[in-house]
């Protein structure tokens, strides 16, 4: 048929079924292109929104590789005349992208030092052998560490500790139990609540700081961020621990022999070696750099300085960094930020914000509630479908254009993007624990919905009663 062999036709049909979202996006973008530009929206803004729709549908459906989505965004920005090639190139690279790149490389460098066994020792020394204390310890350590070094790093390092405890308890590490659920979720949710704590907790925080500065709304320092968010992080630790314990109460109330075996296993690794000490020292320098120098040099340059030191001191080689860094994610976030900037500059963000306010005010009456609903609830739900950084990159310019105090709205959006409790794809840590085969998609909802609601309420309370005291 049509001159194709049966085999070729089958290949084409296979491609069509697997790439249906790409085809649909392509057809929709053409249709929207020929729609009349809505009142109040510039022609460039109209085309920018077409790119946003295409990008979102392709990211959610994962029809094509993420780097391909990133490249498509850049191509469409130029081809649809949203900006010049040089304009697109300059909006693609920013300190936020440097930061994401630097923090991913730092993560690889830290993981490479074999500090996970030290971490195990730290956890069990603090918690002892009662299971509820171990759960609390997992949540606390995951939250505190991920607030500084990024959740994916902590998630990867904590996973073997949890699995070793499960194995030492005499359980099959290939079979799901309440003990495996509670320990693994304490890592994932601990990392999620921790990621709000500092700008280096997640790429989305750096993106929001970048937007606030780029749009001339506010300059937020590393310490400013900590002051705003850390109280919420601390409050969430016992809440998460309690909800997880109540949802997945394991039959093993103590883990005596399991903890003892783990101590023996970890003791074999000996004391901290020189490389590990140097690695910790460099990270402390990076942390101090973020606090004291990021207002001058930017978060990204400080993170890259840390990578420079790790490479120069021979603590990791480039091959290892190159192999384990997710370059596709860096490309995608660069493109998403570029798209966010174009949304702002073409007025697309302002138009969407205005339309959203108009329509939602019919339901909610009060503009403050509308703003809260979009920046918290919509962001929180979208982050469970997309990724937190992509959500902030796309929604950031819109919520910042919705009026009110942009710092409050910006922080609410960034924090809500950490409510990655409901799906496997919500965050890298959720995917890491799911990849063990011990957590099903349905498990995420069991405790996730409770945490989502409580986190939304807590954020509302913090934003109403605590943030105004800081007068930022």
């Amino acid at each position: 048929m049509f001159g194709f062999s049966e085999r070729s036709l089958t290949t084409i049909l296979f491609w069509v079924t697997r790439k249906k979202w790409l085809i649909l996006s392509f057809l929709l973008s053409i249709s929207f292109f020929y729609f009349p530009t809505p009142d109040g929206l510039s022609s460039e803004g109209h085309r920018t929104l077409i790119i946003v729709l295409v990008a979102l549908s392709l990211i959610v459906s994962e029809t094509i590789p993420l780097p391909a989505v990133a490249i498509l965004i850049l191509i469409m920005e130029v081809v649809l005349g949203v900006d010049t090639p040089d304009g697109v190139a300059s909006s693609f690279m920013s300190d936020a992208v440097f930061f994401i790149m630097g923090s991913l490389m730092l993560a690889v460098s830290i993981v490479h030092q074999g500090l996970d066994k030290r971490l195990a020792l730290l956890v069990i020394n603090i918690t002892g052998n009662k299971t509820w204390r171990i759960v609390m310890g997992f949540v606390t350590i995951s939250a505190l560490l991920s607030s500084f070094i990024g959740e994916h790093t902590v998630g990867a390092m904590m996973l073997p500790v949890a699995l070793a405890l499960i194995r030492n308890a005499g359980l099959d590490t290939g079979k799901a139990t309440k003990l495996s659920s509670v320990l693994l979720f304490s890592i994932a949710y601990g990392c999620a609540i921790g990621s709000i704590g500092t700008p280096s907790g997640g790429g989305r925080n750096a993106i929001m700081i970048g937007y606030l500065a780029e749009f001339g709304m506010a300059e937020i320092s590393y310490l400013d961020w900590i002051k705003m968010t850390y109280p919420m992080l601390i409050l969430e630790i016992p809440i998460v621990s309690l909800i997880l314990w109540k949802t997945f109460t394991p039959s093993q109330k103590t883990m005596d022999s399991s903890v003892r075996k783990l101590k023996v296993q970890v003791a074999k690794t000996g004391k901290l070696n020189a490389n590990q000490l140097m690695a910790i020292g460099i990270f402390i320098l990076v942390f101090l750099g973020w606090i004291f120098f990021s207002p001058i040099f930017g978060l990204g340059i400080v993170a890259l300085s840390g990578v420079f030191l790790y490479l120069s001191f021979g603590l990791i080689n480039w091959k290892e960094i190159n192999r384990n860094t997710n370059w596709g994610v860096i490309l995608l976030f660069g493109s998403a930020i570029s798209l966010g900037i174009q949304m702002k500059e073409t007025g697309a963000a302002l138009w969407v914000a205005g339309q959203t306010l108009t329509y939602l005010e019919i339901i909610f009456q009060d503009v403050e509630i509308v703003r809260w609903f979009v920046s918290v609830v919509v962001t929180g739900l979208l982050t469970n479908l997309l990724s937190s950084a992509a959500t902030v990159a796309v929604l950031g310019p819109i919520v910042l254009d919705m009026g009110g105090n942009p710092v409050i709205t910006g922080f609410m959006t960034s924090i809500a993007s950490a409510f990655a409790y409901l799906t496997v794809v919500a965050s890298p840590t959720c995917m890491i624990i799911h990849s063990t085969g011990l957590i099903t998609s349905a498990d995420y909802f069991k405790a996730g919905w409770k945490l989502f609601i409580i986190s939304v309420i807590l954020l509302l309370i913090i934003s109403l009663f605590y943030w105004p005291l800081l007068s930022l």
């Binding site: 048929m1 049966e6 085999r7 036709l9 089958t10 049909l13 296979f14 079924t17 697997r18 994962e62 590789p65 993420l66 993560a107 690889v108 993981v111 074999g114 996970d116 066994k117 994916h152 998630g155 990867a156 390092m157 996973l159 073997p160 699995l163 070793a164 194995r167 590490t173 290939g174 296993q265 384990n324 860094t325 997710n326 596709g328 994610v329 990724s387 496997v424 794809v425 965050s427 890298p428 840590t429 995917m431 890491i432 799911h434 990849s435 063990t436 085969g437």
Partner: protein
Amino acid sequence: MKILIGISSKKYSEPTLDVGMRIASILKSSTTILDVGGKINEFSYKDVSIANELMESWDLDRPGVEVLEWAYNYLIREKYIEKNLNEIGFSKNLLVDKGNGRSEVFLKGVAVKNLSLILRNGDIIEELRDEVQSFEYDLTIIGGSGKRSMAHDLIQYIDSSIFVVNNFNLKQKYRILLAVDDSPGTSKVVKFGVRVAQAFNIEVDLITISKDGDFSEKFRIASSRAEKMMRRSGVTAKVKFSEGELVNTLVDIAGDNHIIIMGTSSQSALTKFFLGSKPLDVMESCNCPMLIVK
């Protein structure tokens, strides 16, 4: 002949592995046992890979390895691989990363030519299709899923013949129900029928179905040739002619104690895509294992 056996878990895959290895040993074929783990989303695959590497440093198996270990132990127990490997036992060090998320364990088979265990991650149909296309398998053996879309994709996109081990009971005494007609593909279907019958040492019902009960000369010749081929191969076969609609008749006669063997549809790929096909309808309705010969 090259055979690919798709497994997914210790809990559900034993019948599939059992059927697959019986056929592979009769045919002395080059055999691969494949476990496809869940798809890792692109935002996280590097992080998951780092986590897996750390797990190995703790002497913990990365996900999927336990399924391969189970398959390995099955092969030892059923004497499909050499004894000296039995003494060594399964070790994840045997797993060789072949790139693109594909890891492989090479084994020295006794009853089969080459035997390997493969671990991949991703969408099951995409991974199976890629494996079959890259290594040119003749037969893919997989467990039944009960989903129409899965059955459709298997029939439509996997290039090899497909044996769906649906509701297979190791204790059940099966017969083969082999659909014969006058199409050119029938002789290949009969050859497969002979091999499966030999693998399980079971008898065959050669069935020819006509909607209006009119069995033309061509049908009778095809049936007679099939019966002759069975007899020459030492397989006991009974010839049957039934009137009725093909799908319902075949499914009714098969019940749960037959292995259905039929050829793929001769319709174009486009027609099959939009309108489905008889093999797809049978696969969807039947309550027993089924082999579709391509």
